[in-house]
Symmetry: C2
Subunit: 402 residues, 2 copies
Amino acid sequence: MKDYERFFSEGGRVLRESPIRKMGTVLAASREVISFAPGYPANESFPWDDFRAIADDLLTQHSDDLLQYGPTRGYRPLLDAIIDVQKTRGINVTTDQVIVTTGSQQGLFLLARALFDPGDVVLVELPSYTGAITAFKSFGADLVGVAQDDDGINLEDLDRTLARVRGEGRRVKCLYLVPNFQNPTGRLLSLEKRRALVEWAEREDVLIVEDDPYRDIYFTDVTTEADTRPIAADDPYGRVLYLSSFSKTLAPGFRTAWLVAPPVIASKVELAKQAIDLCTSGFDQQMVYQACVRGVLAAQAPRLRALYQHKRDVMVAALREAGTPLTWLDPRGGFFLWARLPDGLHADTLLERATAEGVIYVTGSAFFVDATGHEYVRLSFSSPSEARIREGVERLTRVMRS
Amino acid sequence: MKDYERFFSEGGRVLRESPIRKMGTVLAASREVISFAPGYPANESFPWDDFRAIADDLLTQHSDDLLQYGPTRGYRPLLDAIIDVQKTRGINVTTDQVIVTTGSQQGLFLLARALFDPGDVVLVELPSYTGAITAFKSFGADLVGVAQDDDGINLEDLDRTLARVRGEGRRVKCLYLVPNFQNPTGRLLSLEKRRALVEWAEREDVLIVEDDPYRDIYFTDVTTEADTRPIAADDPYGRVLYLSSFSKTLAPGFRTAWLVAPPVIASKVELAKQAIDLCTSGFDQQMVYQACVRGVLAAQAPRLRALYQHKRDVMVAALREAGTPLTWLDPRGGFFLWARLPDGLHADTLLERATAEGVIYVTGSAFFVDATGHEYVRLSFSSPSEARIREGVERLTRVMRS
């Protein structure tokens, strides 16, 4: 049989590869290519010795639940550790509000499953994280973009967009945001806007999905911890669903993240997770749990801030030294530098030449749900070494000049 | 805000807890309860020392890909190891046909995503595995049951059911089967029927989803390896999509399984997986890979056959000694004994009394898509100790007599 197409679902037929994952494939194909594409944590950031000691202890102790199927909701001690992490972020929650997810990608997908019917509108920033876009579209949500300023989402455009969508007779269920060092722009949402958004959500009867993987990675030269206070920390209404992850602070290989939501939503998400993978890896969860209670996570945070701040410095200095024709806002945290190409250059067409020159990035258009953004590139400084950041910037500058 | 219900999707609103997972919660709540409910591998079956040595080596070597995000398709060396495993089962495949999944549950869900639109009919056995039922329903598939004989699905009823469904103007996309030691009945599909099913699928233009987690656990006193030959091994047409797992042979805690499908379907499944969890845990995949190449998996198989055959013997002997009023077919492999209650007893109402007496099982009706099966119970002998199997059977017998 050759023709399998006719067996595909409508949803299956339109599945498209994520531009970021595609860049990962290019990367895997050649070690010579310098990649500013995927937002990978630096390999040198992983606490190898701690993980080795933890794994050795766990596999010596033979606890019944380490290698077995576990509760869908998550490993109970890890849920408690997550509640403690939430407390340090100003968010007080109870166990019935928390669920461990197999990466935040799964959290986004589970929310889509629980909440979105075909045609429901989700408001997202222009630009916004591609993984969320893909997850939300899985159940037919229609994504509508809202403009951003340097300090995050533009509140006037938010009101205008909401009114327009409602004027078309459509239901807006959620606003999706990455408030801290947004993927892809690296922007930090101002505290004033955070407070305003909670009131807006209550007034307009909309939920906010707050995706917060980069919160611990603020750069202390220009950002304080207080600047990263989650929207959920000041939400008296129960409007904010909060996601975060151990992928950037411990290791993405463990695929361990979490979602916090009102109990009735958390329960639905738990049921949805049963159908998707039964439970997150028990071994990974216990590795992460031990990293929490042994202080590994706490020790990581300041190290990571210093490491990525330095990498940002290296990239910014390299861009300046090379006299690159890009313009950008210096990142105040996170993994990404979002840059605008000089007039007349198109990020998609430039990528082919850049790849030939041995450097890759993610094209801005990948992050825009309105098919704009061709004048932007996302440069990730988190993963490459200093030397490769410099070399990559030189290559990229050559490509733009040629 | 109190009323979140109005934010749920249609699909979210109808999500229901899996009866098997619910039993897991009862189990977790009390260690005094003897559980014949979840199909958990025996904790004593895990190769702890091998895993400890592997983890220590991996975390000493600091390979770049161990703790990092990985390819959605899976860790490449593990894909190659899976190809070798497939070969031992008589199935020759290429890399573009294989994908690693976060447990077989995810494989089933991904197939549903790629293939099923609301209203598409999937034929399943009466009874059938609840995890598949839940996954398939996630995208609106309509499940229609087909009767079983002692040697597996009834081919006449298969033809009748297909004709009836088509007569209603509906499309049958797939037949889902667990050919080896079926969950829940423990039945083994005869080789004659396997061959007939491939021809049936080609003739009727239907795909077969073959779910094969228990294949290695055949009981050598009454079953040979040849009896377990997958349907996919004799499919010249490309009609069979094949799933299997390391959960029963190594450990479910690693959430590592695989799916084999024609390249065009495997590609769609890969794209669907991007939206669901980006990739399966790299650490878990490398643990499993090392267990494959170091011979741990090969050494496990005969040990597991002996272990679970012995546990079956213990349960069957206990049932006979107790003079229990149940009737059953002795399992030829796998984890489950499927038993029929004496006339007049109802598995759902009996469960309450059984739980009070300190023994639980899964009610047969959980596995029937046509809402029948209340006279059956699934007793899993894989996880409890010998002593607890005996004690549990005694308790259950007391409950039935009272």
